[in-house]
């Protein structure tokens, strides 16, 4: 009997384990001034932060829902728990972390990765960081890697936090930025001093265990002049039938001649609404490199943005998205060229199957003063069946004649001609199709950290079975 060639959905079962949550630790669902004040009380907020939260709530209530992307009608904000008390305060020794939480991260391989290939690790469980550690030799270089709350209460960093927190992504940016400003909790603060090259990556891992909850971590990274950092972010959650929400925020400051590589592998469960906001500002001669893999979530709105603010600033965005059954993933990037001789390069791949919906959405803006700037955008989409959908919506807004902007996009299926060519060289049809799909993703997967590239191959689970029917 012939079996039809097929490509398996991303297998997220690996991440689908859970522990019973203690409901006494969960705050009341919904978003009200009383709940915001309770979060501020619980976290011992400084006055300015409490005022900031309440102001953000006002903005949230006034701001309309988005009306241009995937439907988020299934997200009932009145049922989302925005804060869950931690079972432990943050630890710097792995052995001190409670067994249940420790078991979660050990299953995810985080402690092993820390030992083998990372300069530091942060682990967030529901609303708070439960573990943070940085290698001694890295700390001795002056690198700060801690949770954001600790930094805010530390006189050495309070001013830095106050002057950078939600300045790149103000609460007025959109409704879920305002929500983040009101209920944010957890996340990391990283500072890399001038000229310091952090040779091995730092990693934060975010795990949302509780049912019907939201995670609102805030990541703030400052890479000072001439410094280098590779930061990896991973996220996952077990699957529930109730909607969960991730509305995190990432703000990255890349100073003069500094480089920051920010890699994300997102494996949220398929009940998750991932409405995350990421933004970087890059000064003269600096560079931001985004590497983004989006595999999970029910609905995603995710567009890391680069503001090229200093002359000669550069950005690169490399992304891959895989949308399977029940997923509507709206991903892409935004670039603003706001200084002369800046450059941006965008390269994405998306794969749709089993009714999954992929949308690549981008914008490239070149301002009047961005003379000599260049931008190149390339996006390719692969459709693996006719019940799926793939759209590309790239926008370009060019306001100077001293710029070069190129854009190209392709959409299609596995080419019969290429399959025929490979088969004429002795490959089976199954092998030929598998090779083509792997090759399609290769440009992007090779940019991922090695362990994640291996994981991505496992995740995509490209399995060609039998002969083609």
């Amino acid at each position: 009997m012939k079996e039809k060639t097929w490509v398996q959905d991303i297998n997220t079962g690996f991440y689908d384990f859970r522990f019973e949550e203690d409901e006494s630790l969960m705050f009341e669902s919904g978003i009200t001034p009383r709940i915001i004040n309770e979060i501020a009380d619980e976290k011992g907020d400084i006055d300015w932060m409490r005022a900031f939260r309440l102001k953000s709530l006002e903005i949230y209530n006034k701001t309309p829902m988005v009306d241009w992307g995937p439907s988020i009608e299934g997200l009932d904000m009145s049922r989302i728990v925005t804060y869950i008390r931690p079972k432990t305060r943050m630890r710097t020794n792995w052995e001190d972390v409670p067994d249940e939480v420790k078991d979660t991260f050990e299953r995810l391989g985080i402690p092993q990765a820390e030992r083998e290939s990372l300069a530091g690790v942060g682990a967030q469980y529901d609303s708070e960081l439960v573990y943070h550690n940085v290698r001694k030799e890295v700390a001795e270089q002056g690198v700060v890697y801690t949770d954001l709350e600790s930094a805010m209460h530390d006189p050495r960093y309070e001013y830095i936090i106050k002057s950078h927190f939600m300045k790149l992504v103000p609460p007025t940016d959109h409704k879920f930025a305002a929500l983040h400003g009101a209920v944010w909790s957890g996340g990391s603060f990283v500072y890399v001093p001038k000229g310091v090259h952090v040779d091995i990556p730092l990693q934060s891992y975010f795990r949302l265990n509780a049912k019907g909850a939201g995670q609102f971590e805030h990541t703030l990274i400052i890479v000072d002049e001439g410094a280098y950092l590779h930061f990896i972010e991973g996220c996952s959650a077990p699957k529930y039938y109730e909607a969960s929400l991730h509305a995190g925020c990432v703000e990255l400051y890349v100073r003069k001649n500094a480089t920051l590589r920010y890699s994300t592998i997102e494996n949220w469960s398929k009940n998750m609404y991932n409405l995350n906001t990421k933004r970087a500002i890059v000064e003269e001669g600096g560079k931001i490199e985004w590497v983004s893999g989006s595999f999970g979530s029910h609905v995603s709105y995710l567009y890391p943005m680069s503001i090229l603010h200093g002359e000669g600033a550069r950005s690169e965005f490399t992304g891959i998205t895989f949308a399977g059954e029940g997923q509507d993933l709206d991903t892409g990037t935004k670039v603003v060229h706001a200084a002369p001789n800046t450059s941006s390069y965008v390269n994405t791949r998306s794969i749709s199957k089993s009714g999954g919906v992929n949308t690549f959405r981008s914008s490239v803006q070149i301002n009047e003063n961005a003379h000599g700037s260049k931008s190149s955008v390339s996006c390719e989409s692969l459709m693996l069946d006719s019940i799926s959908r793939s759209d590309t919506i790239p926008a370009m807004d060019i306001r100077t004649n001293q710029a070069d902007v190129g854009h190209e996009a392709k959409i299609g299926r596995i080419s019969d001609d290429v399959v025929f060519y490979l088969m004429s060289r002795g490959m089976s049809e199954e092998d030929a199709r598998a090779l083509i799909v792997r090759g399609f993703a290769d440009n992007v997967s090779k940019e991922l950290p090695l362990e994640y590239a291996v994981e991505m191959n496992n995740l995509i689970g490209i399995e060609m079975k039998g002969s083609v029917g």
Binding site: L384, D385, D391, T392, P394, M396, R399, H407, E408, R413
Partner: protein
């Protein structure tokens, strides 16, 4: 005055980009205009009552404001001489016109329309051309637009194609204070084909807002959209181009490409080329090249004694002339050259 939205993107994006639609003042387009015509005997022309029953590139809101009357051109065979339509618009009036080209199966024709006003004339016009192409019919629609500095011109082409029909639309936008162009092509027929070439030349404070939608439901349908333009002074332009592969359009192909030359530091160019895909067995692509002339070309021409100004003028002329080359009719070409400034254009 109330506003209405026209030229809407089939799939909207971020509002702050201000590309999702164009907004114009709501007006009653009550002054029905019939163009002067030069129609060969083999075609039939008549003003008829006929409600618009298709999708329009400029959108539903404006279609509703245009009366049901239309000039219907019935094409029965292969017509070698083009049908020529010439529009003049009275100053201060909100003119409206709808022309319906009904091409019988396996008929063949070219329709050439000119829309011109005096340089200083004020007013507005909303004109719509409907093309209903029967099986195997071939229609080439040529439009050239140059309106006054106080004139608002809104142009729409709505196309429906049956099996193996081929419709080609060549448009030249050569100036106007506020010009809007919409095209909607429904490729419902097997192997139906839509070819679209648009050239534009904008300067001073002129604005142009274009929305092209090629909707593919027919198997092995094809579209090619080519847009070439030049912006100088304070000109502003938005180009929305959408290839929409609907489920069932297996074997369909579509390509769109825009090439824009920017000749001033104060121009604003917005481009948003969409591909929407609900069918596996299709091939779609789009590309855009926006900015200045590449350095190698400049170096090559300067090495042959040309100044930078001459090089830019040459390249600007070349863009418009390359779109004109899609027009076979010499009389139409000559008139377009006159609109561009005379016979010296392109020398």
């Amino acid at each position: 005055m109330d506003k209405i939205k026209i030229n809407q993107l089939p799939a909207p994006t971020w509002r702050h980009l201000k590309m999702n639609f164009a907004e114009i003042e709501a007006r009653e387009y009550s002054h029905f205009v019939v163009p002067s015509m030069d129609v060969p005997n083999v075609a039939k022309a008549a003003v008829v009552k006929n409600a618009f029953d298709m999708a329009a590139g400029w959108g539903e809101m404006l279609s509703e404001t245009i009366r049901d009357s239309c000039l219907q051109l019935a094409i029965g065979g292969s017509i070698k001489e083009p049908l020529r339509l010439d529009y003049g618009f009275e100053a201060g009036k909100n003119a409206a016109s709808r022309v319906e080209i009904v091409a019988a199966p396996y008929s063949e024709t070219t329709v050439i329309a000119f829309y011109e006003t005096d340089g200083a004339s004020k007013g507005s016009a909303a004109v719509q051309t409907v093309v209903k192409a029967g099986e195997g019919a071939k229609v080439h629609l040529v439009q050239a637009v140059k309106v006054g500095s106080g004139f608002q011109f809104i142009n729409d082409v709505a196309i429906r194609e049956d099996d193996r029909a081929r419709v080609e639309v060549t448009q030249l936008y050569l100036g106007g204070h506020a010009v809007y162009g919409g095209i909607r092509s429904d490729l419902a027929g097997y192997k139906s084909d839509f070819q679209n070439q648009i050239g534009y030349l904008l300067g001073q404070d002129e604005t142009l807002d274009i929305n092209v939608v090629s909707s593919h439901s027919g198997r092995k349908s094809n579209c090619d959209i080519i847009v070439k333009g030049v912006l100088s002074d304070n000109a502003q332009k938005v180009f929305r181009g959408t290839i929409d592969f609907l489920n069932g359009a297996s074997g369909a192909t579509g390509a769109e490409n825009e090439d824009v030359l920017l000749m001033s530091e104060k121009v604003v160019n917005k481009t948003i080329p969409l591909i929407l895909c609900a069918e596996e067995d299709v091939e779609g692509s789009h590309g855009a090249s926006i900015g200045r002339i590449d350095e190698n070309s400049v170096f090559y021409m300067m090495a042959r004694g040309m100044s930078l100004e001459q090089i830019y003028q040459l390249m600007a002329n070349a863009k418009i002339l390359s779109v004109m080359n899609y027009i076979d009719d010499q009389a139409a070409k000559d008139r377009i050259l006159q609109m561009l400034g005379g016979e010296d254009y392109g020398d």
